[in-house]
Subunit: 422 residues, 2 copies
């Protein structure tokens, strides 16, 4: 990653929500692994540098998957005739329990990290299981594959089977040790405080986690207002219910930059607190459809200036490949448009692609699109098989078609944090 | 295809709606290209015959795509930020007009037929364009690839651009000639009367088509109650509107076995006439989502004992690969379940798989699942890459996961009409 890297091809980026920047047969210049700029014509100063000609391919930022469960990776596509709570009991908990074995964790997590890179996802916010050691193995696997982002050891001490329930004090002790160790050990993956969700976390546990988040100044990720049965359960468990958000807020877990997955049923009050505190919503449309949850009204969040990113929610969502999640987001929003009497405009491709790339990137400290100075996160996809008998399309049209039809095998190059990884 | 073919592996079939027959490591026996039976243990009489061991793969009936537009194949994944009528004008009509060139038709249709087989679809009901010769080329391509089913030369003589509008008399004359020629020439693909939809067909044209359908005793395929703007347009064009169905019925086009794509907005009256006359509904959930159309309430049709099959509706739907359409059908039905206050149960995998295989097969004269005596239509898919770290699943679970995660490359064998084609 020393020296210049100059990619010459059709470039697409979504630097801000709704803006798609298409540069036909342009140049993406990086130096020492960092982006210098995107140019229609190569500036004189770079003449003479080696150029990688990618004619007939599309160059774009790599994907950010801002909510997924790494230990559920073996379950991809299983049990989706069920809803959330039944699915957790039948499939998720028994599989997550297997991560008590480090051997099992290694077997799954190295394959998982490789699959992410293969599909062009270089940045994530991932849940692990309750196991401290397996969580370190997940971070090892991501770090070696050069997947950047946040990883959380999950906490849960109630309303779950014995075999996966933590003792409250031990859960907090494990979490603190893991924070200290992982912060020392990893460069690309950072710890995030990760209570599973309200039904499985006692107030004492949440309180301890809030204190750890504050003490070590690390971000929070969890679930919020996903499913109506889950919300009813949360309400029933609460002494003085003032909204799902409040269950987190009273323990210092509804804070700046927190990543809240789903937000399907967030009401006006919840959304206004999110906006005020800059709490992020992570939209997981595939999972919302697969677990019969409902549709998050993304457009309303955008109108209200709440930050939104996209997540696969593997394995509540049956796809790890982010273009599938982009399409799910568009399809869900079209349904929402009809359901709101054509009031809330659906997402177009430019907007959904922004959510799957720049939005998550911004949360992780990067700029939008190919921002000069940022480490290079980039994929190259060959769409020539899709151009059959359909000449003369604009780059914008080819890009849309590519997202709809892409498979991992169409991705020929991936750079993560400045280094080529596929 | 002479002699015995014995496939030994995990077998799944959906012989009737809701019934999934799973035979772990069983035997599918065929003789001279026709199915003999499915067995848990190989009957004595077949001992000594060569057995193809497919351990670790799943054997199932091939897919039936009962509504798709062959000339829209180059458009797969394009223009889906639009709705139906705008999309037709911007993308569909200009592309369909290109099929005036036989060279263009050959280029597209041979690739199209190959793609169908590659994805395990061996039976179809396909729309062509208005062009008689290109329609013959499509039938050539399907016949050679051994794709079985119905093909229709499209008719349209109003409310469309000049460059693709037919003269009414010429349209009928071309259609009759094409019926005579194609019935003489093809063994596996048969003509179907195919008015595009009410907005583009004058009463005179519909009348002539109804007479041709009766004269040659051939089936009808068209669109019904897809999109609310389209329905409003149909109503505005009608002198005495008595329902979308009635526009066809008064010209003899709403008859036994007719295939009506979409039926998103079919009301009680329309459905009751469909039931009475055994008119089929073809559910196209991917297209309904991609063109923001709405959701066909499949469960209601099933309750009312109306025949339903599944269609990709390429290219209103962005996927030609039928497992994606199965998943879309399940997802749409989950949304419908929520939208009907949890009243209309969603489709489960067994039901949706039936719609994608046996339902269409029955319409084309086969039995459901692997019916003894039927020509063999069958695919084999290897799911071993999906079993990673997830041992001990039942065949039913592996099958569900396979449908969610399958790609065409996972299909290792395809038989169509008794002959191996992949």
């Amino acid at each position: 990653m020393n020296g210049y890297l100059i990619l010459h091809g059709d470039i697409v980026e979504a630097p801000s929500f709704g803006k798609l920047n298409c540069v036909e047969y342009g140049y993406l210049v990086a130096k020492d692994g960092r982006i210098v700029g995107v140019y229609k014509d190569l500036p004189e100063e770079y003449e003479g540098q080696p150029v990688t000609d990618l004619a007939g391919s599309i160059i774009m930022p790599s994907f950010c998957d801002m909510h997924l469960h790494a230990p559920q990776y073996p379950l991809l596509g299983l049990g989706l005739d069920m809803q959330l709570l039944e699915w957790l009991e039948t499939y998720t908990y028994p599989t997550e329990a297997r991560f008590a074995s480090n051997e099992y964790a290694s077997r799954v997590y190295y394959a998982f990290a490789k699959d992410l890179i293969n599909g062009g996802t270089t940045r994530v916010a991932a849940f692990s299981s309750i196991h401290k050691e397996a969580t370190m193995i997940l971070m090892d696997a991501l770090e070696r594959a050069r997947v950047i982002g946040l990883v959380g050891k999950v906490n849960m001490d109630r309303n779950c089977p014995d075999y996966i329930r933590e003792d409250t004090a031990k859960s907090l002790e494990d979490t603190e040790q893991w924070i200290i160790e992982s912060r020392r050990k990893y460069r690309f993956v950072k710890p995030a405080i990760t209570p599973r969700f309200i039904p499985t976390c006692s107030p004492e546990l949440l309180d301890g986690l809030g204190k750890l988040a504050a003490k070590y100044n690390i971000p929070v990720q969890t679930h919020l207002s996903e499913n109506s049965d889950e919300i009813n359960l949360t309400r029933a468990l609460s002494k003085e219910y003032a909204g799902y958000w409040h269950e987190y807020a009273q323990h210092g877990l509804f804070t700046e930059g927190a990543l809240m997955a789903h937000c399907v049923y967030s009401d006006h009050m919840e959304r206004s607190v999110m906006h005020e505190r800059n709490v992020w919503a992570v939209h997981c449309p595939t999972a919302n459809m697969d677990l019969s949850t409902g549709i998050m009204p993304v457009r309303r969040f955008v109108y209200e200036d709440i930050n939104v990113a996209l997540g696969s929610d593997v394995a509540g969502g049956a796809a790890i490949f982010m273009p599938r999640v982009i399409i799910s987001a568009i399809r869900a929003s079209k349904r929402n448009w009809l359901a709101t009497a054509r009031n809330e405009r659906c997402l177009n491709m430019a907007e959904a692609f922004y959510l799957a790339t720049s939005a998550g990137a911004k949360r992780l400290g990067y700029g939008g699109g190919f921002t000069p100075g940022d480490p290079l996160h980039c994929i190259v996809a060959d769409d020539q098989r899709m151009c059959m008998a359909d000449e003369g399309r604009s780059l914008r049209e080819r890009f849309e078609r590519l997202i709809y039809r892409m498979q991992p095998a169409d991705i020929t190059h991936v750079w993560s944090e400045g280094e080529r990884v596929k």
